[in-house]
Subunit: 295 residues, 2 copies
Amino acid sequence: MKRLEAALAETATAVNQMLDNLLPAVTSAERRVVDAMRYSVMGGGKRIRPFLVRHSAKLFDVADAHALRVAAAIEMLHCYSLVHDDLPAMDDADLRRGRPSVHRQFDEATAILAGDGLLTMAFEVLAHPDTHANPLVRSELVLALARAGGGAGMVGGQMIDLEAENAQLDLPAITRLQALKTGAIFEFSCIAGPILGQAPAEAHAALRDYARALGLAFQIADDLLDIESSEAVTGKPVGRDQVAGKATFVSLLGVEGARKRAQDLAEHAADRLAQFSNRADLLCDMAQFVVDRRS
Amino acid sequence: MKRLEAALAETATAVNQMLDNLLPAVTSAERRVVDAMRYSVMGGGKRIRPFLVRHSAKLFDVADAHALRVAAAIEMLHCYSLVHDDLPAMDDADLRRGRPSVHRQFDEATAILAGDGLLTMAFEVLAHPDTHANPLVRSELVLALARAGGGAGMVGGQMIDLEAENAQLDLPAITRLQALKTGAIFEFSCIAGPILGQAPAEAHAALRDYARALGLAFQIADDLLDIESSEAVTGKPVGRDQVAGKATFVSLLGVEGARKRAQDLAEHAADRLAQFSNRADLLCDMAQFVVDRRS
């Protein structure tokens, strides 16, 4: 996995630079919200979604300058979701990526606005001519991200998750929750490549299937980490699902069953990229990485 | 003003129908957030922004089916901003358009998510091929709305407004606050017409100037209403700026000075549409309406 770690680090450096360029600090009266937006997006993280955008784009020889802008946009959207999910009315989390969450570092009102600003800016970046010369590509990116992020995607998934404490969800219901809450954004990240590369439908389908298996494997691994890891390692509170009495993949499948299911999904994800042979090696590594990660 | 009232009512009916079509109720597990989104957008309101979109579009013979989708998108964005601004951490408002605000009718977490969902959906609607056959037009609409709604627009303005209690703003600062907080969205609503109609730069400039004057007149009238009207008429709490000790156009210009400035702006707005002669009559009526309105 040395080559994957190197590639992840390289993407993190490149996307951090792009985020810094796209979202510079300001000195005008609204600087507090811009500072909070920057605090959120510059706070580290593994940058898995940006990695998926860049490496799905490489399959179709997309210019990296274009892919990096989409990578930055998806990270903005991901960070907005973390900022809002951490709010007292939602998950009430004090820690994020080992630092105070945005509403703890600033205040609740600023955190709400910073999330709103990041979500809005993700679309600004995608629609800008610098992201792709062809406006059809830009429109398709916007449409795909909006669908992935909205009521039929991430926002809907978070709603179901909030209500999950009161409803013992079964496996199909948990799977759908995950597909909306985290899967849709993984899917966007992976089809950003074929959209940018104006690739044929088979390529879209392969990356979509890869992303769905990857996203589900990621969430199962997250549930395993929630009971097996520690706050010091993950940089955020752990064991919360158990305390809340929520059904998870682990409570439904058991630890061993969940681990096996995640591994099967990682292998299925890699299989779907066979048509790209060794050009997809890093994406295949990533499928294994999301299962093996310790944080 | 009979013709304006009729035109406003006609737009309200048409945009309500479009919103109902674009955002149907669902029965799946995430229905609570969709219900909250619908509660927010179907809650009435004068639909001034949709009116501006439709009537700026009519100047360029844009198909009404296209203009109505953009009108619905801007209303989604406007409603998201109301839902989030009403939250306890922001303006803490229990009433909106004469009904409980979304977090009072549902709960805070659902209100945060409903706002996020409406903001996201506004971009989904704009980027969809049904909004315009030309993807360049769709991209330009998305880019313009994102700029108007983000940290350098509405979100930035709301940040300044939240901090205004601690900083006695002067007239240039209040004017900039307004230009960001409410002006940018008025501006988007008015340039949506020339964008949809792929109109020449002079038309863009005229509508932009009209919108800026209109937006400022609207805000000054709002400040006047805040001290002169009652909750029963406006459907929301009044007198809050005075209680909070915030500087407003009225505290800086006096009641008579503020009223004169709003009237001058309404006339300036109308003047900038002279090139469209009587085709712009309703937009000119609107400039006077925002100054004269009692709620």
